[in-house]
């Protein structure tokens, strides 16, 4: 049996700097042992522990989709010891990856429904995984209308710019990109995410919204979706907490009786209402 504390060896095969400030990068990893890729079989919304020997581990949402074979991607902001070390790495470096960990976006529940994706800033990574999963050729017909609302503080902070552009060209996606404040070259929409949600006003009928972003964005976005008629069961989000083991043993990421690492990170608003507000 796989020891859950031992990481799979992975090689950094591609690094993409996502933003002008250069502190958010996407890291593409290849499994050193090809058989490990199948063992790391994941669902959008799950996370992994990026493991840098000598530095430690950091829990990060998986940014690629399981429909993308041969590699797995994580988009990481440079912040603490591990992520700073990661940002110093070059292609070809070996490190470790544990997981997949946590529950996932509720794919089966989402099937047959209209999906509204709402993302803010850098917290768009596991939403990107979900989008690429849903628009994958064989999967697209399993989901209804897909609306995407994504915003960042300024154009330079939008991540996955090439994909955003490609998605905007598709006629089976309603893509709404916004920035709090544009610059000289910005031709797109300006405005905060909650305001854009109000403007786009997706129908609540047979619809689920999946929201990820900074707390302040979530706080102002939720009332918009309540007004649109979305029930708490149909508003889904993902929590973050300090984690170590990732498997519900080390005892620090609990919210009430639930461990965010094992029972989450994905919860519906209806589920969160039953938990204590300690996150």
């Amino acid at each position: 049996m796989q020891n859950p504390y031992i990481p799979y060896p992975v090689e950094v095969i591609k690094i993409i700097t996502e933003v002008d400030t250069k502190d958010i990068k996407t890291f593409r990893f290849k499994f050193v042992n090809p058989e490990d890729e199948a063992k790391f079989s994941y669902i959008p919304g799950q996370f992994g522990e990026l493991s840098i020997y000598g530095k430690g581990e950091s829990p990060i949402g998986i940014a690629s989709s399981p429909t993308q074979k041969g590699y797995v991607e994580f988009t990481v902001q440079k912040a603490g010891v591990v992520t700073s070390a990661l940002h110093e790495m070059e292609e070809g470096t070996l490190m470790g990856l544990r997981g997949p960990l946590g529950n996932s976006w509720p794919i089966e529940y989402l099937e047959g429904k209209n999906i509204v994706i709402v993302g803010g800033g850098f917290a768009f990574t596991t939403l990107r995984s979900l989008i690429n999963y849903m628009i994958f050729e064989d999967n697209r017909k399993r989901f209804g209308k897909i609306t995407i609302i994504y915003g960042a503080r300024n154009p330079g902070l939008l991540i996955y710019k090439d994909e955003l552009e490609a998605w905007q060209k598709r006629d089976d996606l309603n893509v709404n990109i916004t920035v709090d404040k544009g610059d000289a070259t910005w031709k797109g929409r300006e405005g905060f995410v909650p305001a854009v949600c109000k403007e786009v006003a997706p129908s609540a009928e047979n619809a689920v919204t999946v929201i990820c972003g900074p707390p302040v964005m979530i706080r102002f976005t939720l009332p918009v979706f309540f007004d649109l008629g979305f029930s708490k069961e149909n508003i889904i989000t993902s929590l973050e907490m300090r984690m170590k083991c990732g498997i519900g043993k080390c005892g620090r990421c609990n919210v009430g009786s639930k461990y965010v690492c094992k029972d989450g990170p994905v919860f519906s608003l209806a589920e969160l209402d039953k938990l204590t507000k300690e996150y």
Binding site: P4, C245, I247
Partner: protein, 341 residues
């Protein structure tokens, strides 16, 4: 399963004999304290003890343990080896409350989905021999309030009870029975069993400290925001001693240590009493003060563990009560919670 009688002066010899075959952890005197420690050659265990200063959970869940080793290569640090050693071990003379804690820790470390192989490996390789408390050792003992008893075989492979002239030896599990040949040939008679039952009942009655540990569960369910939480932590120093001494506290940290080209990933005990325990890289901390940390400690033991495993995560050993430098007594906290209307 089988029961035998042994003479009371034979216990030390049996432990010594076992030490030829096993690593034997037993209570030993160290300055003022009795602690569990692996017996050195010809070292005498000290069975006339009340309870050990330290909880014997460290045998399965050491204060610090290496999980793996790694080494540097031109392409970066890479995994070298898993470190998961477990000697054939006998834990000799543990008190029933502490043996109970192993049954509680098993629920967490040996779950269906994620198995903690470091804990399980040590647990599987260890035979637990419980030495019953025929007289409750301390006024702070409250095992009977948290599903324990002073003469109890929970978590034990062998239970030894002092029945006056002899020790009654009961083999509780097949693992315990494998050590039967260490305990002589004398089968226990019905009189010995009757005597044990009398002694067990008397010991149970002698536990005077009682707390409403079960009664507070429904109160905790609906009182996360109760003003009582602001009244508990005032004198707490956040030293973490209560969690260090606790037989059921299991929170840990994982960290890396590098020396030259090689390094290890280790896990060490951590504590919900420490401010940094939940502090995130961003600076955000969901538990901002000792108030929230104390609430977590109480909730974890008397509500969350019950929600998740249907068991209270406290064995009533009283170590936290005796060791707290500011006399913050969890029994009083539980009593006060029980009074919430």
């Amino acid at each position: 399963m089988e029961k035998r009688l042994i003479k009371k002066n034979t216990l030390t010899g049996i432990a010594g004999k076992m030490a030829d075959e096993f690593k034997v952890w037993a209570p030993v005197k160290q300055e003022e304290n009795v602690i569990f420690s692996p017996l050195e050659k010809n070292e005498q265990p000290f069975f006339a003890y009340l309870n050990s200063k330290n909880a014997p959970k460290q045998i399965f869940f050491p204060h610090t343990e290496t999980l793996m080793k790694y080494t540097s290569t031109p392409k970066g640090m890479v995994f070298a080896a898993e470190e998961n050693k477990a000697d054939k071990t006998v834990l000799f003379g543990v008190r029933p409350c502490d043996a109970h804690s192993f049954a509680l820790l098993d629920m967490l470390f040996d779950q269906e989905k994620y198995k903690d192989q470091y804990y399980i490996n040590k647990r599987n390789n260890t035979t637990v021999i419980t030495l019953a408390c025929v007289e409750p050792p301390y006024a702070t003992c409250f095992c009977t309030s948290v599903d324990g008893e002073p003469v109890d075989d929970k978590g034990a492979d062998i239970l030894i009870t002092d029945i006056g002239d002899n020790y009654l030896v009961e083999f509780v599990t097949p693992k315990g029975e494998k050590l039967a040949n260490y305990f002589g040939e004398t089968k226990a008679d019905a009189a010995a069993e009757t005597k044990k039952k009398e002694i067990a009942e008397k010991a149970k009655q002698a536990i005077k400290s009682k707390i409403p540990a079960h009664e507070i569960k429904p109160i905790l369910d609906v009182n996360f925001e109760n003003p009582i939480w602001a009244t508990i932590h005032g004198k707490c120093l956040a030293c973490g001693t209560c969690t260090w001494m606790c037989p059921t506290c299991h929170c840990f940290d994982i960290s890396d240590e590098v020396k030259g080209n090689d390094g290890v990933r280790i896990r060490s005990w951590d504590s919900c009493m420490f401010p940094l325990f939940t502090k995130e890289t961003s600076g955000h901390n969901p538990r901002t003060s000792q108030k929230e940390r104390w609430r977590q400690r109480v909730m974890h033991k008397f509500k969350y563990y019950v929600d998740n495993f249907n068991a209270i995560a406290c064995v009533g050993c009283g170590r936290c009560v005796m060791s707290c430098p500011v006399n913050l007594d969890i029994r009083k906290v539980v009593e006060d919670i029980a009074k919430i209307k």
